[in-house]
Amino acid sequence: MTIFFAVLFSVSTLVLVAGLGLKIAQYARTPAPLKIPTTPAPLTRPGVALRLGREALLFESLFRGNKPLWLFAMIFHLGLAVVLIRHARYFEAHVGPLVALVQPLAMPAGLAMVAGLALLLARRFLIERVRYVTGPSDLLMLALLLAIGVSGLAMKGMVHTDIVAVKAFFTGLMGFELRPLPADPLLGLHLLLVCGLMIVFPFSKLLHAPGLFFSPTRNQTDTPREMRHLAPWAAKLEEKG
């Protein structure tokens, strides 16, 4: 089990980092030939940073569009954020201040994450319009996240695993040193699902996380009259006349 997960985690990390890196490079490389911010839009770069910050942290547009969905999405993402920060303790030798700060929130955050996911899943069945646009991959993604959350909560609350050994395994792995991983089935399931998530990330709609920052309707300044905006391929077109 130890060797299996050591290999799997190494591969998953590689796929996640390389896959995301390639996608981000593709987004950054592809030109945006026209100014298309959804107006009213900020006139300055700091204004754009603020707009993107509000979108990323407060889901501003979603709030304007759909309040219940905004609430469910907030519950899930905030829960996930806390859970992710807390999991840093398994990867660092000395627990940092931020991790220590959120430690007491571990259980409520885990529950919020799972509850948020359950609500998001339920609306995919209950709202006719959302049911229509939901595909098998949308349900599988929610199921995967739910399974990760539930298996994690189960280890935290009921079937404890040896987290000291888990931490030793991961800190060891990061120094290319093999240390034994506890052979608990629940832990195995949890880690297997997490690896699955890491692998599908760069190939799935989870790309919405980096993609938001490349969305031209949100990341452009509203300055077309002040500054001439010209993509390289459009400039070539001009030369040809």
Partner: protein, 500 residues
């Protein structure tokens, strides 16, 4: 009104945001006339679908993905959250689920996934990936011509996914494989051949302008001019060709002329650039959009003007404000003290503020106004030097011209405004059912202020909105003359002859 051969949507209370139940395939048969070879070939598009078009379409899709970041990013990042599903006026008016923005985009995305993503190549069923087939093409043709590119969906999308970008890409691919739309391509042909969308030749245009000058003289006793091709004028006015004869458009044109007259600013129209509209945007073709824009640059250079001002037109203003500098700039030969281009409403509102023109509201006695924010002005452009000027400036001008002004429901104005139902290259008779149904959210909000606040007229600042509303208002038991040009109101209120 004679009975229409289709149901007119019932109008509810805009505050309750009524959303219809899904009516699958309700609009599956709605499509515009196909372009004939005679409309396709002058634009450099094949006259008809050719052998191997499927492969060609995929190659074109790849090319678009590498040239437009918007398309590449929007294809990947949709999470199908459904925030857009109740935002499109065509969905609200028809109930057809493929008119929900995410479902419309998925018609394109499903093909993208099949040919350009690992998941779609390995497990097409799981991620809804489809081969490019005749059925898929027909579905594209019908439903990408049920999107007016109004961008309302992009306001509410948590990632700003703009279906307009996707429908533009789809239309450009279809044009390039020989499946073009007659209405847009025929019009673009006329712009290149004659100079404007309506195909008004120069002599007819001169006649029309002379007639208008006589009308103004008869009515006001003031010799207001509508000059054309006058070299050395200060301002080149570029306006939609509908302004030359359609109602209420032409009343707006008379308004611009009176404003220039009262302000004492020399101006001219141009036979070469006798059209502000740029249907190159509707068909998503950068080269066409650029070619059409270059006419304006050439006219400005030939006439030696110092400024360019655009008349009231929604998509024209988006292309002008957002794209003109890119497509036909730089504008270093014009007077650097003014933005290039300017909107006529920027010009007029500035004069009102500086008391450069005088308005008498009694010229619009008895009228209670509301305003329809044009989608392309509201979400694709700006006026003035502050974000949101595209909302405040038209209102300032209207309020200065009329005795009473009322806004419609807040969820239907400013950047949440609805499309009139005829934008994006859909203002053609064979799509009348779509246009009538797509106008229902706007009609609902209008009825609300008519019933509760006594609104008598709705001002519009776009040639397409004006034409669309004039046509569809009667279907909802409103008078077709309820829609007025913003500068028509200015025209009624402006005091001529004592501007010293």
């Amino acid at each position: 009104m004679a009975a229409a051969p289709f149901d007119i949507p019932a109008l509810g209370d805009p505050a309750e945001h009524p959303v219809p139940a899904l009516k699958p395939a309700a609009m599956a048969e709605s499509k515009p006339y196909l372009a004939a070879a005679a409309h396709q070939e002058p634009l450099g598009f094949p006259g008809e679908l050719e052998e191997g078009w499927e492969k060609h379409a995929i190659a074109l899709m790849g090319d678009k993905l590498s040239k437009f970041r918007s398309l590449q990013v929007f294809m990947d990042i949709c999470v199908k959250c459904g925030a857009c599903t109740d935002k499109c006026h065509y969905f609200l008016g028809t109930g057809d689920p493929k008119n929900m923005p995410v479902a419309r985009a998925d018609l394109f995305r499903s093909v993208y996934r099949r040919y350009f993503t690992t998941a779609g190549k390995l497990t097409p069923g799981l991620v809804g990936a489809r081969d490019m087939t005749r059925d898929v093409l027909d579905e594209w043709y019908n439903y990408f011509h049920q999107c007016s590119q109004c961008r309302r969906c992009s306001v509410f999308c948590p990632y700003g996914i703009d279906t307009a970008e996707i429908s533009m890409a789809a239309r450009d691919i279809m044009d390039s494989i020989g499946q073009g739309q007659k209405y847009c391509n025929e019009i673009i042909g006329k712009v290149h051949k004659i100079g404007n969308n309506l195909g008004l030749p120069a002599p007819a245009l001169l006649d029309t302008l002379e007639g208008l000058e006589e009308d103004i003289l008869d009515e006001t006793g003031v010799p207001v001019k509508l000059p054309i091709d006058v070299a050395g004028a200060e301002v080149l006015l570029v306006t939609p060709s509908a302004d030359f004869f359609a109602e209420p458009h032409v009343l707006g044109l008379i308004g611009y002329a009176k404003v220039f007259h009262a302000a004492g600013v020399s101006w001219t129209l141009s036979t070469k650039a006798s059209e502000a509209g740029n249907f190159g945007m509707f068909i998503g073709n950068y080269e066409q959009m650029q070619k059409i824009s270059m006419r304006i640059r050439e006219a400005a250079q030939e006439l030696g003007v110092k400024r360019i001002i655009f008349g009231e037109c929604g998509h024209a203003w988006r292309v002008a404000y957002s794209f003109l500098n890119t497509l036909a700039g730089p504008w270093d030969f014009l007077d650097p003290r003014y933005p290039v281009p300017q909107h006529i409403l920027e010009f007029t509102s500035d004069l009102i503020r500086r008391k450069g023109i005088k308005l008498d509201k009694s010229g619009n006695e008895g009228m209670v106004l509301t305003v329809h924010d044009s989608c392309n002005v509201a979400r694709g452009a700006r006026m003035g030097d502050r974000p949101g000027g595209q909302f405040t400036i038209p209102r300032e001008v209207i309020i200065a011209s009329v005795p009473k002004f009322v806004d419609m429901h807040p969820d239907t104005i400013c950047d949440k405004t609805y499309c009139c139902g005829g934008g994006g290259g859909l203002l053609t008779d064979e799509l009348i059912e779509l246009r009538v149904k797509g106008a229902s959210p706007r009609m609902e909000a209008l009825k609300d202020v008519v019933d509760k606040q006594g609104v008598t007229h709705m001002a519009a600042m776009c040639a397409i909105c004006k034409a669309q509303f004039t046509k569809i208002l009667p279907y909802y038991d409103f008078d077709r003359e309820m829609v007025v040009s913003v500068h028509q109101l200015v025209s009624n209120a402006i005091l001529l002859g004592d501007n010293d």
